[in-house]
């Protein structure tokens, strides 16, 4: 009674879609950020699933590096939000249509 | 009449849970007695012979107490926080082997499991602090997040020193690797590692001198100021379970776990003895120092503990790598 790989992939797809919808729907950059993390994790899940199917450590190794990238991304991304917030005192991504401040 | 494996596991888990709860209740008594001795007092004395029933009386009292939920609190977050706090704190016991084979699950990534799960404690702590909508609790939660993330790293690096020496993350394998010599007895590396582990433990468990989370003279009781009755008891239980588990881990990583003279069945006793020794060491520090300030705590972590533990780990690694064959 093992779980079929397709189930994992399906779950991964669902989470990914929710993450993308979150990015579009929400206005708070912080929530958008979290939604991106969600999508990233969904992709990771798919990678691990493929890795398990192939029986090679490659999938896991990829996820391992994705985690490192995600950490760097969280740091820099939050720092950018800090800068934006400092200069605007508002928190809506709709105000950020310009690439400068 | 043998039980099916899952039922056996369930029984084992149930027994472990009770052991942990019993341990916690009586370790609080131990600490109170120990502190009383340090302060030339007697300590709990009236409930039962020599106050032996005091923890039970305390538990009953906390159960009977009215549960006050502040009207402006975030009810869901506030009510879930004690559970969110308790679960990781007690769950870390799952991977501790008390003696060879006497443990719930001797995971082959045991140390890492321990570190990861114990770092989840912060979620419950934060939920409690934020959910109360109390300024003291809030400040405490903010301090807590900062302090715990700052000391998580030295804690991990210090705990990795024995891992490097043993070459395994499995807790029982780490004990086996200390058969000849306890890691705390390794020249320089072992002692420094043990000290770093103790300091990081003090900070990660919010004990004086690093108990700025609780800081009852500034923040009254920190993140649990609004908790009362059984919810408070659960938080307290979690905190002590965490401290005891960390003491056990320290005894396992550095003091050879259940290794000791005498027959094998004494192992669990030796292990508990060593863990209590570590615990009393932490308690001793707790009852002799004043608390230091947030900025000083963070400075110690980032400027001293972090680089020092990383360097220590590298030195240990160099030694291990050099001894294991001098390179391929």
């Amino acid at each position: 009674m093992t779980v079929p790989d397709a189930w994992y992939l399906g779950l991964s797809a669902v989470l990914f879609a929710i993450g993308i919808v979150g990015v579009i729907v929400r206005r708070n950059p912080l929530v958008i950020f979290m939604s991106i993390e969600l999508a990233l994790n969904a992709a990771n899940l798919a990678l691990v699933t493929f890795g398990a199917r192939l029986g090679s450590p490659d999938g896991q190794a990829l996820v391992f590096f994705v985690m490192a990238v995600a950490a760097a991304e969280v740091g820099v991304g939050l720092a950018i939000i800090v800068v934006i917030f400092r200069s605007r005192h508002r928190l809506s991504v709709d105000d950020l249509s310009l690439m400068r401040w | 009449m043998t039980l099916p494996p899952i039922a056996q596991t369930a029984v084992a888990a149930f027994v472990l849970l009770n052991v942990v709860i019993g341990l916690v209740t009586y370790v609080t008594l131990l600490e109170r007695k120990f502190a009383a001795r340090m302060q030339s007092r007697i300590g709990p004395y009236y409930v039962g012979p020599h106050g032996l029933l005091q923890p039970i009386a305390d538990a009953l009292k906390l159960m009977m107490k009215e549960d006050v939920v502040p009207s402006s609190a975030d009810r869901w977050v506030y009510n879930l926080a004690p559970i969110a706090f308790l679960v990781p704190c007690v769950l870390i016991f799952a991977t501790l082997p008390f003696a060879p084979g006497l443990g719930l699950a001797d995971l082959n990534i045991g140390v890492l499991f321990f570190l990861a799960v114990s770092s989840l404690e912060i979620v419950g702590l934060f939920m409690g602090g934020w959910g109360s909508n109390n300024k003291y609790a809030m400040l405490s939660a903010m301090r807590g997040v900062n302090q715990i993330i700052s000391y998580d790293l030295p804690f991990v690096f210090a705990a990795l020193v024995p891992v490097v020496l043993a070459g395994s993350l499995q807790l029982s394998a780490i004990v086996t690797a200390q058969q000849g010599l306890w890691f705390a007895a390794y020249p320089v590396i072992g002692q420094l590692g043990f000290i770093a582990y103790l300091v990081a433990t003090l900070a990660a468990e919010n004990r004086v001198p690093f108990d700025i989370l609780e800081a009852e003279s500034e923040l009254v009781a920190g993140f649990r100021v609004e908790y009362s009755g059984m919810k408070f008891a659960l938080i307290q239980l979690g905190e002590y379970a965490h401290i005891i588990a960390t003491s056990y881990l320290g005894a396992l990583l550095f003091l050879g776990g259940w290794l000791g003279p005498g027959p094998a069945w004494l192992g669990a006793g030796w292990f508990t003895l060593k863990a209590m020794l570590v615990f009393l060491l932490l308690t001793w520090v707790r009852w002799s120092f004043v608390r230091i300030r947030v900025d000083q705590i963070l400075a110690i972590s980032w400027k001293l503990m972090l680089p020092a533990t990383v360097l220590l780990l590298l030195v240990t690694a160099f030694w291990v790598a050099w001894r294991s064959g001098g390179g391929a």
Binding site: M67 | M63, L104
Partner: protein
């Protein structure tokens, strides 16, 4: 899977314990709320506003750096485990790794970020 089954069962027991003890306490304890009792504790004075206000950013810069070092810790674990078989070359790999991140630490130190103003 099997190794983690006990852990899952244990976790379930812990939650059950928490819930049961809360339920028992709920049965035993009195409940006499009144508005003043349910007010937030603020040293006996009426609370001044909500606790949910913004917290200054500057103090938590160090938290951003934490994520990076957390990743370092995760990277060290596989390395610590293969050290015995891989020997000194593996050591030099990590020494380089730590050295490069150490530059970041040094920069942070000199910028004064590691101080909690």
């Amino acid at each position: 899977m099997s190794a983690y089954l006990p852990v899952a069962i244990f976790a379930a027991f812990i939650v059950a314990f928490a819930v049961v003890s809360l339920a028992v306490a709920w049965l035993l304890r009195p409940s006499r709320p009144d508005p003043v009792k349910l007010m937030n504790y603020e040293c006996g004075a009426e609370p001044i506003g909500s606790a949910w206000v913004q917290v200054p950013l500057g103090f938590y810069l160090v938290a951003l750096i934490f994520i990076v070092f957390d990743t370092l810790a995760v990277f060290m674990i596989p390395w610590a485990l293969v050290l015995r078989t891989a020997g000194l070359p593996a050591f030099w790999v990590m020494a380089g790794f730590v050295g490069i991140i150490g530059l970041g630490w040094l920069y942070a130190y000199r910028e004064g970020v590691l101080e909690w103003k």
